[in-house]
Symmetry: C2
Amino acid sequence: MKHSVEFQPDNITVTVDKGENLLVAAASAGVYIDAFCGGDGVCGKCKVHVEQGEVYSERGNLKQDDWDKGLRLACQSTIHSDLKITVPEKMTSSGKALKRKPKTTRTISARSLDTLIGTWEVDPPVTKLYLELEPPTLEDNVSDMLRVMRGFKNARPGEQEPSYDHPELIRELPTVLRESDWKITLLLLHGKGQNEPDRIIDVEPGDTTSRLYGLAVDIGTTTCSGVLIDLNSGQVISEASGYNAQIRYGEDVISRIIYAARGSGLRDLQERVVHTINAIIEDICKNMIISPADISYIMAAGNTVMSHLLLGLDPKYIREAPYVPSVSQFPLTKAAGLGIHAHPSVRLFLYPCIASYVGGDIVSGVHACQMAKSEKVSLFIDIGTNGEIVVGNGDWMVCAACSAGPAFEGGGIKYGMRASSGAIENFHIHPETYDPMIVTIGRIKPSGICGSGLISIVSELLEAKVIDQQGKFNRNLEHSRIRDGQDGWEYVLAWGQDSLIGEDIVITEVDLDNLMRAKGAMYAGYQTLLGSVGLSFDDLDRVIMAGNFGAFIDLERAICIGLLPDMDRDKFYYLGNASMLGCQISLTDVNRFRERVKVRQLITNLELSENPEFMTYYMASLFLPHTDMSLFPSVKDKLS
Amino acid sequence: MKHSVEFQPDNITVTVDKGENLLVAAASAGVYIDAFCGGDGVCGKCKVHVEQGEVYSERGNLKQDDWDKGLRLACQSTIHSDLKITVPEKMTSSGKALKRKPKTTRTISARSLDTLIGTWEVDPPVTKLYLELEPPTLEDNVSDMLRVMRGFKNARPGEQEPSYDHPELIRELPTVLRESDWKITLLLLHGKGQNEPDRIIDVEPGDTTSRLYGLAVDIGTTTCSGVLIDLNSGQVISEASGYNAQIRYGEDVISRIIYAARGSGLRDLQERVVHTINAIIEDICKNMIISPADISYIMAAGNTVMSHLLLGLDPKYIREAPYVPSVSQFPLTKAAGLGIHAHPSVRLFLYPCIASYVGGDIVSGVHACQMAKSEKVSLFIDIGTNGEIVVGNGDWMVCAACSAGPAFEGGGIKYGMRASSGAIENFHIHPETYDPMIVTIGRIKPSGICGSGLISIVSELLEAKVIDQQGKFNRNLEHSRIRDGQDGWEYVLAWGQDSLIGEDIVITEVDLDNLMRAKGAMYAGYQTLLGSVGLSFDDLDRVIMAGNFGAFIDLERAICIGLLPDMDRDKFYYLGNASMLGCQISLTDVNRFRERVKVRQLITNLELSENPEFMTYYMASLFLPHTDMSLFPSVKDKLS
């Protein structure tokens, strides 16, 4: 259920989900409200007047007096009706109310993804078939397996005879048949192609057709997640996630590769990720009536290093020029063979990778959004330590990886942190008082800055001219929050008294340099890749942002700092965890699954390291938003 | 090289291999020569006169006098030129030379099998492909496996991309490629069908195309044998065989099934047969330049119980009515997974079985002789403890197993033994003196009677009217060798002084009863099977005898006792170890190999146990040769 919230005097109306926090709604709408404590309710600054409608609110440290006047703390209020809100005028130090600049709504409403990802059928790669067989007699004493085949043919006349190759299945078949009184359920795996026969991967006693589950797994370098799908209905019935337990051996793929080269390193890493997947399976099944043995298929995707490590393949050559993975098309594997707690017959499918730094997660994402089925030219972006970019349509695709560095994941940023509780995720600066409005994840006191917060902060500082286009602080501004600190010039986002860590949380010029390098690498990547196929940004019909991080990026601000190209906003789509989405779609619809082969075959990799064009583009990108302002007309207008 | 040998006064000429023993040549030609000692040279009875030509001979205990006259001991002479031999006239006790009955040559010359088994190409299911790959560069850094695929496509344009699924192969690929300087040999396994892609099962450093070997294995209940074939030339390069080490757990399949039901029984049996195969591999490779790791494919056949035990499948239900095997089409298996000492990627193919007692050895044999490709109606026979029979042509086939009992393998016969050194394998009786001519395997003193000897003895005793058609001795003949012994009436084949075991070797009426049951079951089997499809013996175009035992059966004598139908002798073929032959053909020619699917699909099993028609036919067969003499016209003539 949705509600509209009108903010005055900015005269901005946004539509938000029922139950949304009012401070978060304001921040995402670009409405500035004083908020120093990140939403913890302690600073008592974010007072707003509820003119119409009602919020559920706690008084917190608000005076009874204010409460009775209809004032509420925005950070303590949740939206439960259409609202009209007035934000009190901010006073300057001289006590004069400031006239606000008129603002346009900066929130990009979630565009319908239907056209992008399409629909899919509930027609999974695994199916079940219940058979009641005639018991053998002296006149009819064919082998048990032949009897099963005959049952299959009777049930599905005209279809090819299924294959079977699991020794355990044959070994147990006679007992299963006799103990179940010749009433059994076949678990069948569809063939690779449409014309290939099914494969019997399990024979279960009795009628178990109502129990058919599949697991989609996204194997991230940092986080792994799993989604359990009822393959009879196509419904998601449970989800779980957790840190990739490999993390103890290093945060990024490079440190994992280095660890893999040690004595038992490769085995350790393989065991850790399997352990992580097992924990997810346990978590998912814990509160359900199903057991891990009920999972009939696993569809997984991960980057190239994660995929190699899961299969126990040495990732050594991925790190050494010319950066060659062992294999790009991973064979269908028995999950139990890897140590995963699943029925011995259950297969694990791992999305193929393209290159050492463009992995199965990208292929899965590109597959999910059907780029390979469209005439429209799309730019697919996954931003992270290793940013991946794919450009193309149903006729051709090129991809590249650019090493953006860890800034967006908190690395190289003085108070950088991952997107977890306490991280500043949204930020506004008052254009005249230079006071901050900060919103943290979990709405507690801030403890650091995550990637989306960083983009907010830098774009706001740039627009308010607190920093210039080179990422240097305006030394002429006299403000207590702008100062020459321990590591050079910096802006104080939160004073120690308002922060969770008890010290001032700042952003420094060094942080700004690192951010520029990260976003510059991405932008130079787009340019190089487009140039390689003779296109420019004007030729793009769509920009598709994948990845969990992508889902939280404020489009206008990302364009403002030069992380995303300055294009028609209607061309942008947020796909979220596209890798997981691809796995879910493939798990549910075998026809969609089979299309993936085309995706993998279409994509050609372009190596950016040591690419001279990339280096030229990169140097030109180390500016906010770019040295060539003609590339960013809307930002040029905004800054002038 | 062949030589002709003319025997006088019988006026019989035979053609034999150079180096053949003269006594053996005479015995197989049906020329009676006194020979009590089996060919050991001690009885000194088998004197013959060499009229023309020359033999290599030892004097043995022949008098110098006789030697100088040109007499030689037949058993001590080998044939090295065309010969004319005169056998001295046998004297009766009255001293009068006997007039011999004119005899016809009874030897069936080895009929050319070319029309039966056809020709085959050297185009094995596994091939090798040498590739010199371009090393990767930054501009071309596809995965190692994709580079291999590209090399394959360049070498074999237009062919489908091969598949791969062996994890170890992918794991080792990067190292193999780099250590071999990107020069590798692919070991490829052809797809099941003609339109299915090859599968890469190994990648070897350097050019190993000249080393491509396959192993054909016949897994017998008693004996296992292996033949190593150079798959580049199609030549057999080495053979070995040995007792199936399961034999310690019982001689026949039933006792093996019983043992399998014990605690670790099934595992023990599986390990023993694998041990046997490993010993054969070791034996074969011992004196060759190749190592077991050079074997690229294994093609095996065995009866249904042997096949189940090799794969570790419980044979329990094979023994219990309605006699159902677990599986008839065995999946392609990795040999190493069973414990066989082979390269981990090497596949073992096991011929499919038809029913619990008609196994892969029969399918392999039927496959070898191309019954499924001919319009001619053939009767395929494999005689043993479990006799298997197949009737049909390219349009239809029926099969049956009949439990003949162990008589042909020495079981239930007082002095029965397997066909090994010292076993009487050929026998003639003097029609008037009733003295024996015995030839043993290895030409040493006799120690027992093997299957082919038994058939010789019974047919000779019958023709000489020493026994009647009910298998009873003629009580009216007064002869020291025909007597009422410990176990009833018997004929003394060898006196204790002439035997290896120091006691009289006899054949008893109990033995004759057991033989009649064995041959009666076979004959009743032919009749029941033919009747089931509305045919009679007249409709048969060919009778094909498989099995090692079949190769040693004297056709006339086998017909004489009623083991084989009384038909035009030109319709009979001896195929020898047809099971091994099928494996060898399939190993060498993938197109022949692929035809096997049709063989398996064509054959329908008929269960003879508890079949009332079979029982009726069986009872009528318990006679020599049969109660219905119209079925045996040639024998009727001979006996009258």
